[in-house]
């Protein structure tokens, strides 16, 4: 399983809607921008967001002798994407499955997809600590160089759930690469006042409390919305924004933590 993949990074959060998929896609795009070959696997079966975020809705998965061929975003084949969204007939179709069927599907995504040589495989997960997560962690025992990135928003109600996810990582023995705090402050475009809609600093405090590296703090930036539906990275599209700066820093830290020999060029 995943024989040609050097590093696997699982993006987790106990809480929904904190930006796991946005961080996963931007992380994958930023790693590609930096020169790595990247795979992105979406295991949120009931609510796949990756096809929409990358503008790949409607793409079809083909099968070859060695298994399913993932969707490549362009001819360079530097970003391979797999999601259940590509297997549904209509984007409105619900996937009403209990745990065992979800487990089988995820195992298929890990074993039956023809992942080429990849420097990084990013796995985007649904919220919670249940079937999908247990299955992925079980499979990850057979794969080296694995770590988890936790995404949170700063308010208490999200942190409560993320603390549970930290316990999950400790119990399942997965290395925590760090915490990303998302939606931290909103700068009003009219008067440039920064409002901490969902309070602030919660991710930093949690990282200190749990003794996990704090990878960065991403602001709420409505300009990020224009990147939805495209495969352009915030690094190239809005290179001076604070989101791009933080993202660049996160990539550097992750590359260092996963000990990739390649030079960082971005």
């Amino acid at each position: 399983m995943l024989d040609k993949v050097k590093n696997v990074i699982v993006v987790l959060s106990g809480k929904g809607g904190v930006g796991k998929s946005t961080v996963s896609t931007q992380l994958a795009l930023a790693l590609r921008e930096t020169g790595y070959k990247v795979g992105l696997l979406d295991i949120d079966l009931c609510g796949p967001s990756v096809p929409y975020l990358l503008g790949l809705e409607g793409s079809d998965i083909y099968q070859c002798d060695e298994g399913w061929v993932p969707i490549y975003t362009d001819e360079t084949k530097t970003l391979a994407v797999m999601s259940i969204g590509f297997l549904l007939k209509s984007r409105d179709d619900p996937v009403i499955w209990r745990g065992p069927k979800k487990t089988v599907m995820i195992k298929q995504f890990l074993t039956d997809v023809k992942w080429e040589e990849l420097d990084y495989l990013i796995i985007d997960t649904p919220p919670g600590t249940s079937d999908e997560h247990i299955t992925v962690m079980e499979c990850m025992r057979e794969v080296p160089c694995t770590g988890a990135v936790l995404v949170t928003t700063p308010q208490g109600v999200a942190l409560d759930d993320v603390r549970k996810e930290i316990t999950f990582c400790k119990k399942t023995g997965i290395k925590l690469l760090g915490i990303v705090e998302n939606m931290s402050g909103f700068v009003c475009p009219h008067c440039t006042t920064c409002t901490n809609i969902f309070s602030s600093n919660g991710g930093v405090e949690l990282a200190n409390f749990a003794q996990v590296p704090h990878l960065g703090t991403l602001p709420i930036d409505p300009r990020m919305g224009v990147l939805v539906g495209s495969t352009s990275s915030v690094l190239s599209h809005l290179p001076d924004s604070s989101t791009a700066q933080v993202m660049r820093h996160i990539v550097q830290q992750l590359a260092a933590a996963t000990a990739q020999p390649q030079e960082i060029t971005a």
Binding site: G17, P94, I96, K102, D131, I134, K164, F168, T193, G225
Partner: protein
């Protein structure tokens, strides 16, 4: 040890159950293929008996996480309880892996007591009580690392072994998705003789990435024959506290909830603004429904529509 299901298991609900080639050799094939042998879960009768004095049940659903299902549940409960002081309300949090209701309703650290008639839910107000798995955990850090069947067992216990007493409305706060928790709660509560006793409210935010999952949830309700009271759009606009101008943080590029409701033919109940004060009050478990602000005004309108639908 439980045997894993066959790789291409069509699922019990499927008409193909027990008939496709993957079923050959499965020990459950004879049960699956015979429609007469599909026995009803004995839990369903227990649930019906335990909830016989609960008049209405309202599921708060959304395919997407973090759109404010729990916040909306809290706000609706608080507002309805304040405006109908002679009615009784219950809240059941079936988000097993990420329970938020204890914090939002200001009941962190409370304990559930067991009596002869079952678990006593935690009293929040004179006419509001709450049950959540959060009360059964030793610490906030404790994670519930359970696969589906254990979660289903817990939900069944919450429905059949909690002493809810007489309630006018039970609100059920759900996790995101269309999976175990949702299927279980629907199969336990749905009563084909009284199809209106369980209904759903859908919560969404305006941006397409949320609407995408919410459409799936609406189709889930249609497939499961759960009537939808309507859709509430949360976090629809943000008013800067400094200059008073509004910004759309989660822009409705595809027309937001209004366009989706028209397309899916479900009513739109209203929109709640993105208000940092609500976020703060929720984190602290405070009740904001007594204050007059744009959120509570919108809430009053939404609650009026919900009450008149009963």
């Amino acid at each position: 040890m439980q045997a894993p299901p066959p790789v291409h298991c069509p699922g019990l609900e499927s008409e193909q159950a027990g008939l496709v080639s993957a079923c050959a050799g499965c020990p459950n094939q004879s049960i699956c293929s015979d429609p007469n042998k599909k026995l009803e879960d004995p839990g369903k009768a227990l649930v019906a008996a335990a909830l016989k004095d609960v008049k209405h049940k309202l599921l708060i659903l959304s395919g997407k996480g973090g759109v404010g299902k729990s916040t909306v549940t809290t706000l609706l409960t608080r507002y309805l309880a304040r405006s109908c002081p002679d009615k009784n309300f219950g809240v059941l949090d079936i988000d097993i892996c990420g329970p938020s209701q204890p914090r939002l309703l200001g009941a962190v650290g409370e304990n559930v007591h067991q009596s002869g008639s079952g678990w006593s839910p935690v009293g929040i107000d004179d006419n509001v009580c709450l049950m959540s798995i959060g009360f059964l955990l030793g610490s906030v850090d404790d994670a519930i690392i359970w696969r589906g069947p254990k979660k289903n067992g817990m939900i069944r216990q919450f429905l059949s072994e909690v002493d809810w007493g007489t309630l006018d409305l039970l609100l059920l706060d759900t996790p995101p998705g269309t999976s175990d928790e949702h299927l279980s709660v629907v199969s336990y509560l749905r009563d084909d003789n009284a199809p209106d006793s369980v209904r759903a409210i859908i919560v969404t935010t305006p941006q397409e990435v949320a609407l995408l999952d919410v459409r799936k949830e609406i189709n889930f309700c249609k497939k499961q024959r759960i009537p939808i009271v309507g859709v509430i759009e949360n976090m629809s606009s943000f008013r800067c506290g400094h200059c008073g101008n509004s910004s759309e943080i989660f822009p409705a590029k595809t027309g937001g909830a209004a366009a989706m409701c028209a397309e899916m033919e479900v009513p739109l109940l209203g929109s709640l603004p993105l208000d940092p004060n609500v976020a703060k009050a929720c984190d602290a478990g405070e009740d904001i429904t007594a204050i007059r602000n744009p959120t509570t005004e919108a809430l009053a309108d939404i609650c009026g529509k919900i009450v008149s639908s009963f």
